[in-house]
Each structure stands twice: as structure tokens, then as C-alpha cells.
């Protein structure tokens, strides 16, 4: 079975629990961490590739621990024609994937740091951030 990419989101109350360790040890899953980020409010986002016989049980365990689990089926892209480089997304993006290049103040988008949380999609006033399936 080819590895499936999933996005995990966890709140501050569980970000310091050894959930990932238990997932690997108790469910015998093979894991590749694609991206991971914990913001200053201690909310975490992780993109994983996960394989193993106990895949479904593993996901069930994560959900029981209060982790939101979603399949990663899309990506977020920037419509370069539409982006005005206003900067309104830069304090909203949790990973710094959208950031201001000072002192020129152009806004750059680093797709590799994007964890597809989609916060920018609604925060961008001119709707320049788009979800691609």
C-alpha cells in the first residue's frame, strides 16, 4: 500500500503528550514526517505519510486523543496576478510560509513551509490564496 498523506492538528492541551511515539510503538506504523509546526500558542500541525497494517486503528487512536485528522488531498497556491502584497496574511499564517521580505515589504510564499491549514484562504482580503485539489 502506498503511503497516504494526512494532516494532524492538535490543540495546546495535547501538544506535549507523547502521541506520535505511542502511534509508532503501539500500532507499529511506518511514518515519514513531511512537515511539522507548533506555534507559540502551542497549537501543532503535522503532515505525515503513514503506512502499516494497523493504519485505521492508529487513526482511531489519534482521534480519541483529540487530534483532528484529515486526508491531505489538496494544496494551497497563490494567485500571483491577484496578490497585492498587502501583508494581511503574514501574521495569520502559523508557519511563516507567507512572510514579508523587509525592508522591501514584498510578501513571499514558501510552499514548502505551508501546512495547508487554509487560514490564509479566508484571511486574504482579495482572495489570492486558493485551494487546489
Amino acid at each position: 500500500m502506498s503511503p497516504r498523506k494526512i494532516v494532524l492538528r492538535f490543540g495546546p492541551e495535547i501538544s506535549d503528550k507523547p502521541i506520535i511515539y505511542r502511534l509508532v510503538k503501539d500500532y507499529d506504523l511506518v511514518m515519514n514526517i513531511v512537515k511539522a509546526n507548533v506555534n507559540p500558542q502551542k497549537e501543532g500541525i503535522m503532515v505525515l505519510e503513514l503506512t502499516g497494517d494497523n493504519y485505521e486503528q492508529g487513526l482511531k487512536y489519534l482521534r480519541e486523543q483529540g487530534v483532528t485528522v484529515q486526508a491531505l488531498t489538496h494544496e494551497v497556491v497563490r494567485n500571483e496576478q491577484r496578490c497585492t502584497h498587502c501583508g494581511a496574511c503574514t501574521a495569520i499564517c502559523p508557519t511563516g510560509a507567507l512572510y514579508l521580505d523587509r525592508p522591501g515589504m514584498e510578501v513571499h510564499f514558501d510552499g514548502d513551509s505551508c501546512v495547508i491549514c487554509q487560514l490564509c484562504v479566508k484571511a486574504c482580503p482579495v482572495r489570492a490564496m486558493e485551494v487546489k485539489l
Partner: protein, 397 residues
């Protein structure tokens, strides 16, 4: 003090000899060569701003169909326009929303399409669905019309924005413990972020704090075309900010009412805009040329981000309840550094007004003037200045 005149500067523009620089370039010239030199050398300083400006809209005249109609209600792409004026005239306001918009019923609402988007669609030449109903009169018998128009089908399309180009604006923070959705963007709880919305040292009214040059009839860059200052904007209460020790912190409070032919403008500089949980609006590009008539005007035009300050205001509690006061002042240099300190806490900053686009506008205006395509107009009357002491009223109720 020696003075230059509008006539002298325009003669130099005509002969291709005028020295025109952007506000950023002017700051560099003053830094390198001093104010006296900069004043003698430079004729015009160009400024720019590109940001959401809610008090915007356009007067449209659709022309009469046969038979004629007195439009009592009008919708453009489902967005209502104001028709309490003559038969086929209407005003489409930037913040108007479709009647079936869910608004904030599922908070925060998305406000994906509104009057500002209609204006963008029009100026881009895209087809727009027009629907109008009338009640029928002897002279205007028709009761309904539904058709598709573009801006080219209209007799007139006049952008008229009663309040644009705010001189300065609050730096918005959120002291409450919940995320709030405001016209200053999404503000995270407990001082999670700070949003500001001017182009600082490039911003038109920050460069002429005492309204020595900007007045009724000032020719400007508006929405990618040429426009004019029509009047002072609504809520025009210009003042010079000071801190507790009386130190000047730059101006605040001035606004412009602007007008121009929408047909010569561009969708790059008039963009439909949506604020999550707040509403729809229009982002407007404005650039004002400042004639360097004397050394005092030169000194104001040379103000840098370090000289210009914004008040820090809590939008969680103080602003919505109209509580006076603020959490201190912060310079645009500090805001642009990416971090400020509020109540002892380091807070990341982000702008809502596009500095790169402001720079582009100042550059375009400079080029127009250098090419002799744009001349300065001497105001018919200057706008009220801080010396006039205008202040806002509180609505009782």
C-alpha cells in the same frame, strides 16, 4: 523664504526639465544633501497608497431603454445600488452586499462579493448583470428590465469616494481572549498580532500634514487613471499627534473625497475586497503629487517612517465601545520592523495596506509627470488644516 509657483513647476514639466522624485527618493536626497539643497533641486514629490477604502462607490447612468423606465430598485450582479436619484442613475457603494448574503449568520461571514467587486468587474470590462424594477409612470411606463451590461454601455461611470486616503490609521490589537474579525483583519487574542494600514512615509496625507498643497481640484492618480480631490473627506479631523511630553508624532485625521472617470481606470488599482467577519469593500490606489513650493513643504514631504506614528488601539474592547485613549504610539519604522512591544509583550506586526503597490503608484505618477502627461493643478481652495480644529461628534442614542 524663496517660493516656487505652480506655474513655474508646470512650465518645467512642459519643457521636460521638472525634477520629480518619489517620497522614498526624496527622503534619500534630503538625507544625503540636506533639506535646502533638496528643496532647490526638486519640483515635485510623488506619494502613493493602496488599501481598502470603504467609503467608495460609483455613480452610473445606464441610459434609457425603450420604453423608458424610472428605476426604483437596481441590482448589479445581485448587489443593490442606490436609486433614490434620477430615473436611470444609480450609486453602487463599495460595501453593499447581495440581499441573500448570509452576512455574519455563520460567524465569521465570508462576504465574498459586494459593491467593491461590482466596481472591479465594471472597470475590468467584464459583463455585469443589471436588473431594475420601476413602478410605472406616464412618462416612464416600463416596470422591469433584466439585461447584461459592460462599462462601455454606460453613459457615465463616475467614481466618487466620499472618504479615502486616511492620513493615518490605528495600529489594531486585541486585548480580549477571543479571536476577533474586524475591518483591521483577523486579530488574535491576547495581543497575538498587530495590524496597521498606511503606507507610512509614502502616504499622501502624511506628507502634507498642514494641507499646504492639497485642496479642492488637486489632480491625482486615482484607481490607475486621473482623478481629482473633490472636497475634504467625511470625518476630516486633521490634527498633529503629540505624546505626553508634547513631542510631535506626525499628523492624523485628514481624509479626502475624490472623484474621477471610472472608464479610464484599471482593475489593478480598484480591487473588490473581503474582510472575514466584517464585510466587502474596495481597495483603492491613490497617488498625490506634492509640489515643493517652499522649504517648509519640503521638510514635511521628507518625513520618514521614524517620524510618523500610529496610535495602538485595542479592538477587543476599547474601540467597539468607543472608549477614548490608546495603548501608546508606535512609529512606522517600528511597525515595519515586524515586531512592536505593547504592554511589555512583543507582538508581531502585519500591514493591510500594500507598501509595494504604494511605491508602484508613486513611481507611475512620477513617470506621468516626467513625460509631460500630467500637470499639477493649483487647488481652488485648500482643505481644512489642523489649525481649523475640526473634531468628531458623538451620535447620541
Amino acid at each position: 523664504m524663496s517660493e516656487k509657483t505652480y506655474q513655474e513647476i508646470n512650465a518645467r514639466i512642459r519643457s521636460g526639465k521638472a525634477v520629480v522624485v518619489t517620497a522614498e527618493e526624496f527622503i534619500d536626497i534630503v538625507r544625503e544633501k540636506g533639506l535646502a539643497h533638496a528643496y532647490r533641486e526638486v519640483d515635485v514629490v510623488t506619494t502613493g497608497t493602496f488599501a481598502p477604502m470603504c467609503s467608495s462607490g460609483a455613480f452610473l447612468n445606464f441610459g434609457h431603454p425603450a420604453p423608458r423606465i424610472k428605476m426604483h430598485r437596481v441590482w448589479l450582479n445581485n448587489v443593490p445600488a442606490y436609486t433614490g436619484i434620477a430615473a436611470v442613475d444609480a450609486y453602487i457603494g463599495a460595501t453593499e452586499l447581495p440581499e441573500d448574503d448570509p452576512l455574519n449568520s455563520n460567524h465569521p461571514g465570508e462576504f465574498r462579493y459586494g459593491g467593491g467587486h461590482v466596481i472591479e468587474d465594471l472597470v475590468a470590462g467584464r459583463p455585469v448583470r443589471l436588473k431594475a424594477v420601476g413602478y410605472g409612470t406616464d412618462c416612464y411606463p416600463r416596470r422591469e428590465i433584466e439585461t447584461t451590461i459592460t462599462i462601455h454601455d454606460l453613459n457615465e461611470a463616475i467614481l466618487f469616494n466620499p472618504r479615502n486616503a486616511y492620513q493615518n490609521y490605528n495600529c489594531a490589537v486585541n486585548l480580549s481572549n477571543r479571536t476577533i474579525y474586524t475591518y483591521m483583519g483577523i486579530l488574535k487574542p491576547n495581543l497575538g498580532n498587530a495590524h496597521y494600514s498606511t503606507s507610512g512615509q509614502l502616504s499622501p496625507l502624511l506628507k502634507d500634514p498642514h494641507f499646504k498643497t492639497i485642496g479642492i481640484g488637486t489632480r491625482i492618480f486615482l484607481g490607475g487613471g486621473i482623478g481629482y480631490v473633490a472636497w475634504h473627506g467625511t470625518q476630516h479631523f486633521p490634527a498633529i499627534q503629540t505624546d505626553a511630553s508634547g513631542k510631535e508624532l506626525g499628523p492624523a485625521g485628514g481624509t479626502l473625497a475624490v472623484i474621477g472617470d471610472l472608464k479610464q481606470m484599471s482593475p489593478r488599482w480598484l480591487m473588490g475586497t473581503s474582510y472575514l467577519g466584517y464585510g466587502a469593500t474596495l481597495s483603492v490606489g491613490i497617488g498625490v503629487p506634492i509640489p515643493i513650493l517652499n522649504e517648509e513643504i519640503a521638510r514635511y514631504a521628507a518625513a520618514t517612517d521614524a517620524d510618523l506614528y500610529a496610535p495602538i488601539v485595542d479592538y477587543g474592547e476599547a474601540y467597539p465601545n468607543r472608549k477614548p485613549g490608546n495603548l501608546g504610539y508606535v512609529s512606522y519604522a517600528q511597525l515595519k520592523s515586524g515586531r512592536i512591544v505593547v504592554q511589555g509583550k512583543e507582538v508581531p506586526t502585519a500591514p493591510l495596506s500594500s507598501y509595494p503597490r504604494a511605491r508602484e503608484i508613486a513611481g507611475i505618477l512620477k513617470e506621468w509627470i516626467q513625460k509631460g502627461e500630467f500637470f499639477l493643478s493649483e487647488p481652488v481652495q485648500l482643505l481644512p488644516s489642523p489649525a481649523d480644529g475640526l473634531t468628531g461628534k458623538v451620535l447620541k442614542g
